[in-house]
Symmetry: C2
Subunit: 348 residues, 2 copies
């Protein structure tokens, strides 16, 4: 059973999950026997925990991907899907256990209770998000919304983090395109700080800081990457990391899971656009994509506004910033936007 | 001139320093012509800005290192040193400029005013900190104390960050052993949060959280790595990263620069001990070493206690944690202490 421990200085919660160190890492096994085997490919459904949610292949895509895999894969009975959600085989948190605070000397901890799901985004092993159809990316986003709404029915769950690690230096251990949903019994301190910060802004200035950012950026255009009727993608004014990106819905809404599923094709278009730009200018970097949203049991509020943050990981750069909270960024967000928008290649 | 920008949500300050992208990176030039040239080696003093502070070679060490470098190096006139402090040639902050807040739309920024110094820790190119004599490490620590006390005389400076990046994945661009001192006109938000956290702890429980940690850990011994009369090294209870280490002075003191220089050999012994353990068990990882201390213009307080944090960087692990504030650690601090103390080799 994983454990959730509280740092006595910061009040920061940390998950200690020793079992996760057992999970295989395809990126480290490039030369090993497991490098060419993928548990997320069609035909290998039995290697993951059972599906929690499935979208069937519409146009024979699943079956096609399966055929390409040859004899063994063709035997799979459940392989006719275009998206699957399964429980993580090496979960950071587990449904068993309770949320009682336990005292250990001067420290606090609780059972690592929660849910950890994996969204297998496509049956095609080598198709990354930026190469998918807009409708395929929209399917993924709609699945996130569905799953969060399902998970929040369990009232022990306070926060649901939806994220995607792409590439080894972003922490991914499997290259087949997937994202993760971690549902936890507490709100991570960074989320608390973000909400507190936006609450303070609203108290001082009377408006939602994210709505103000949308207005300011859509006006100045200096840091805009993509824009459509409902969403705006930009490099934030105080970017911590080179080529950091945010995607903001234009209409105020606190909770991602309350977003209208009908808007997801619009959001998918923006995501496809920015990932394509990252790929072109930065030679396909590893990145983390994180949905920032309110704690699921809280009501809609005027000061907080859900959004997506994407952080490309430039290897050998910015190691220091990791965990210090002190950031030195050598590419201004204005330059980053210019480079990405013109498709110039950037060399670190 | 670098710029300091404030994130409107968090109130987090970020340094945007485009000039720093020009600095050479030895680690990336392994095959290039600059890979074998080192501006920090004796004989190459003219390639760095002039020395701010120098410790002369006591026992001919500087001269010896110089002789080993051959004809060209022997010409250096100023090469008889065992430690040098110079201004960073590619500074994140610069002494020119002022600390006036400038408004830009809804955003705040100020000039990137401050100091950025480099401590060249040894004349010997390939000698890393864990291989130095305890007295050599103590010299480095005493130099930190001296420099911080000198820098804080400039009252525009609010915080002085002393840190060491070792290895490419920790953000180092030069392999010759060195550390850095960045003095800035504001206090980084993570420092503010750490101080606020310890203030809350003191309000709740009446004691200093770090003093309590020292007492708890020295008692339980479960997470202790090294201990002597004045210092304790441990893996913290809520470690964010695998093999994260803290070194705490046993006696309460808020400000690192107020520490008694006579205790530095003791601290040096502990640092040498833990770095040796990291090297043995983790095959010489990259790491960041950071001195955590109070803002320099603030008085000594009862709730905050200076200390050192060391974060080994395991490549391809924990990319996700970078910048999310959400941590999953797959090696419990108790296991980490056991592995390091027994000298067992750990494989990720």
């Amino acid at each position: 059973m994983p454990e959730i421990r509280k740092d006595p200085v910061f009040g920061r919660w940390v998950i200690i999950a020793s079992e996760r160190s057992l999970r295989p890492n395809q990126f480290r096994e490039v030369a090993g026997k497991n490098a060419y085997h993928c548990p997320f490919c069609p035909g290998n459904e039995a290697e993951t925990p059972p599906s929690i949610y499935t979208l069937s292949a519409e146009n024979g895509e699943g079956a096609k991907a399966q055929r390409n895999k040859g004899t063994k894969a063709r035997k799979g009975k459940n392989a006719n899907w275009r998206l699957r959600v399964v429980r993580n085989k090496y979960p950071a948190l587990q449904p068993e256990g309770d949320t009682i605070n336990r005292v250990e000397g001067i420290y606090d901890r609780m059972d690592g209770m929660g849910f950890h799901e994996v969204v297998i985004e496509t049956p095609v092993h080598s198709r990354q998000m930026e190469d998918m159809e807009v409708s395929g990316i929209a399917d993924i986003l709609k699945t996130y919304i569905l799953r969060v709404n399902e998970i929040k029915k369990d009232h022990r769950i306070k926060y649901v983090m939806v994220f995607k690690n792409h590439g080894a230096s972003a922490g991914a251990s499997i290259s087949h395109s997937h994202s993760q949903i971690i549902a936890m019994p507490m709100t991570p301190i960074r989320v608390v700080q973000e909400i507190t910060g936006s609450e303070n802004y609203r108290r001082d200035r009377g408006s939602c800081v994210f709505c103000d950012i949308v207005r300011e950026e859509a006006g100045s255009k200096k840091r805009v990457l993509e824009e459509n009727e409902n969403f705006l993608a930009l490099t934030p004014y105080a970017s911590r990391f080179s080529f950091e990106l945010w995607i903001l819905p234009k209409k105020h809404l606190s909770h991602f899971e309350n977003a209208d599923a009908a808007l997801m094709p619009d959001l998918a278009g923006i995501i496809k656009g920015v990932l394509g730009k990252l790929k072109r200018s930065l030679a396909g970097p590893s990145y983390n994509l994180i949905v920032h949203t309110m704690p699921v049991q809280d009501p809609e509020v005027g000061h907080y506004h859900w959004h997506i943050e994407i952080m490309p990981k430039m290897s050998m750069v910015a190691g220091f910033e990791w965990g210090t909270g002190f950031y030195i960024n050598t590419v201004s967000p204005e330059d980053a936007a210019k480079i990405l928008n013109t498709g110039k290649k950037y060399k670190f």
